[in-house]
């Protein structure tokens, strides 16, 4: 059964902070919740469903529900890393379509920047009970070198080049110059990217996203609620989610779970990649964008490097305007989890509320897509197809 159009995104909010040593994590969650509800024209007391992921403090949803005074009758704490919030949109769609919820609030917040976290270069420890840890942790898998191994293999199999990857960052920087909140607003060139210091071969410093504090929130509502709130809500047309892992050692790092989540989302929406006017694509690293663009069907497997080159992702220049807020590469990567901001910028584009310099003309259909975890090991991918209310 297709759930096309069975729920709407009525509110969205991106916290303006990128460095918040003076705020608590719970406070940031509450501030983005207030922002998204105000954007929708709703109150905290209207919320009957609450979704958060591993970035929220405390056990599951308890602490934040209590802090904010929520009394939800539907909760979801699905955690697939940075893609969690795109999955939450899909789960809110399901809950609303089945009558279990009417107004769902999704929050994300984090403070890795003010905590001085070496997000990309320090191996994380997921605990002794995690079955892969005894066979991986000792080898130093950090975020950057795992994505780098995917890039290295992509280059080997398809001839993808560092200069092609650099175009992803160049496009993001072209967009970020117009975003007053973006962490990095300077426009960069392909040469500057490939000449920046090597972090983990073949990824340079400018192939990597920023580390920022901040957060974001979304309010997903039933169609009748969206109608009562006026015409700004964005329609959810399709959703997909998929896990991909190392498959017992039969590995292929040249694609992500997006191949499956994207197919399912486009099927539900009854649309094809060629219909999409704007794409938010999780850009933890430049290679993440190249692989996911292929996986979503914007080009053939292996042709992503050619596709992103020469400004093809720049709004007003290329065929597929992407991440017009500057993305994780330049704007914001709150809590080291980029899925939330991907949905927020897609909502801006569909409402015609992106910065005029990057607003896509007649933007009626958009995709927001992300992959959490690591494309070098195990990941959760999620895709949501969004449209204007008349779509």
């Amino acid at each position: 059964m297709s759930l096309r159009g069975k729920a709407f995104i009525a509110g969205s909010y991106e916290h303006p902070t990128r460095n918040a040593p003076d705020k608590t994590l719970a406070q940031l969650h509450a501030e983005v919740a207030r922002g998204a509800l105000a954007d929708a024209g709703l109150e905290m007391s209207d919320v009957d469903a609450y979704y958060c992921a591993g970035d929220a403090p405390g056990l599951g949803p308890f602490s934040m529900a209590e802090y904010m005074g929520l009394k939800p009758t539907h909760v979801d704490t699905t955690d697939t890393g940075g893609s969690s919030y795109i999955i939450h949109v899909g789960h809110a769609l399901q809950a609303i379509a089945s009558g279990k919820a009417r107004i769902a609030l999704i929050t994300l917040a984090g403070k890795p920047r003010s905590a001085g976290q070496a997000t990309g270069t320090a191996p994380r420890d997921y605990g002794a009970d995690t079955p892969d840890v005894p066979f991986e942790r000792v080898y130093g898998p950090a975020t950057a070198n795992m994505y780098a191994m995917a890039a290295m293999r992509h280059m080997y199999e398809f001839g993808t080049t560092s200069k092609q990857l650099a175009w992803v960052k160049v496009a993001a920087s072209q967009h970020a110059q117009h975003n007053e909140h973006a962490m990095l607003r300077n426009v960069v060139t392909v040469e500057e990217v490939v000449d920046s210091p090597m972090i983990a071969d073949p990824l340079h410093r400018l192939d990597c996203c920023v580390i920022s504090d901040g957060g974001g929130a979304l309010v997903v509502v039933a169609p009748e609620v969206a109608k009562s709130l006026g015409g700004r809500a964005v329609k959810i047309l399709g959703h997909g989610e998929a896990l991909k892992h190392l498959n017992g050692g039969k590995i292929d790092l040249t694609y992500t779970g997006g191949r499956i989540s994207g197919t399912r989302a486009f099927e539900e929406a009854g649309l094809a990649p060629a219909d999409i006017k704007y794409a938010s694509i999780y850009d933890s690293f430049t290679i993440t964008v190249v692989e996911q663009i292929e996986d979503l069907g914007f080009c053939e497997h292996g042709k992503g490097g050619t596709f992103v080159a020469d400004g093809n992702l720049i709004s007003g220049v290329g065929k597929l305007p992407f991440n017009t807020d500057g993305g994780g590469l330049c704007n914001n990567h709150p809590a080291n989890r980029g899925g939330m901001t991907k949905v927020i910028e897609a909502v801006r584009q569909l409402r015609g509320e992106a910065h005029p310099a990057v607003q896509v003309r007649n933007c009626d259909l958009a995709v927001a897509h992300g992959t959490g975890g690591s494309i070098g090991t195990r990941m959760g991918s999620s895709t949501v197809i969004l449209g204007r209310a008349d779509a």
Binding site: R137, V138, D201, L253
Partner: protein, 130 residues
């Protein structure tokens, strides 16, 4: 050359993996194989990830493979090369490449197992050019 001074955090040993690490301390490299479907898998587990049979066994691995992919982490106190090596037995395994010139590594290169000591003395399988 590779990071001889790296401190390697000892892997957590548990009932499911202790045979692997005990063998490593004897200089042997074990591979987990399923008696039901005949497939080798990685990381080693009791229940086969391909056919879900619990009839799995440890077999002596060849210790030989080829580099599937790799990356040299430059932003570390001692730079190191992480890699996936595709074993002759089939599965690809996460590892480090040692005893090699990082700048001369190539995907497809033949490698063989060697061992380094973790901070508690546990032998850790790694790979070097064959």
């Amino acid at each position: 050359m590779s990071g001889e001074e790296r401190v390697l955090p000892a892997p957590p040993v548990n009932p499911e993996n202790e045979a692997f690490f005990k063998a490593a301390n004897e200089g042997r490299y074990l591979v987990k194989k399923c008696r039901a479907c005949g497939e080798a898998h990685y990381y080693p587990r009791t229940v086969c990830p391909f056919c879900q049979s619990a009839d799995t066994e440890w077999v002596e691995g060849s210790g030989k493979g080829v580099i599937y992919t790799y990356s040299v982490m430059r932003r570390a106190p001692v730079p190191y090369a992480i890699a996936y090596v595709t074993l002759a037995e089939g599965p690809s395994v996460m590892t480090n490449l040692v005893d090699c010139d990082f700048d001369a590594l190539k995907i497809g290169q033949k490698v063989e197992v060697t061992f380094r000591k973790a901070d508690n003395g546990q032998a850790i399988p790694m790979f070097k050019p064959a």
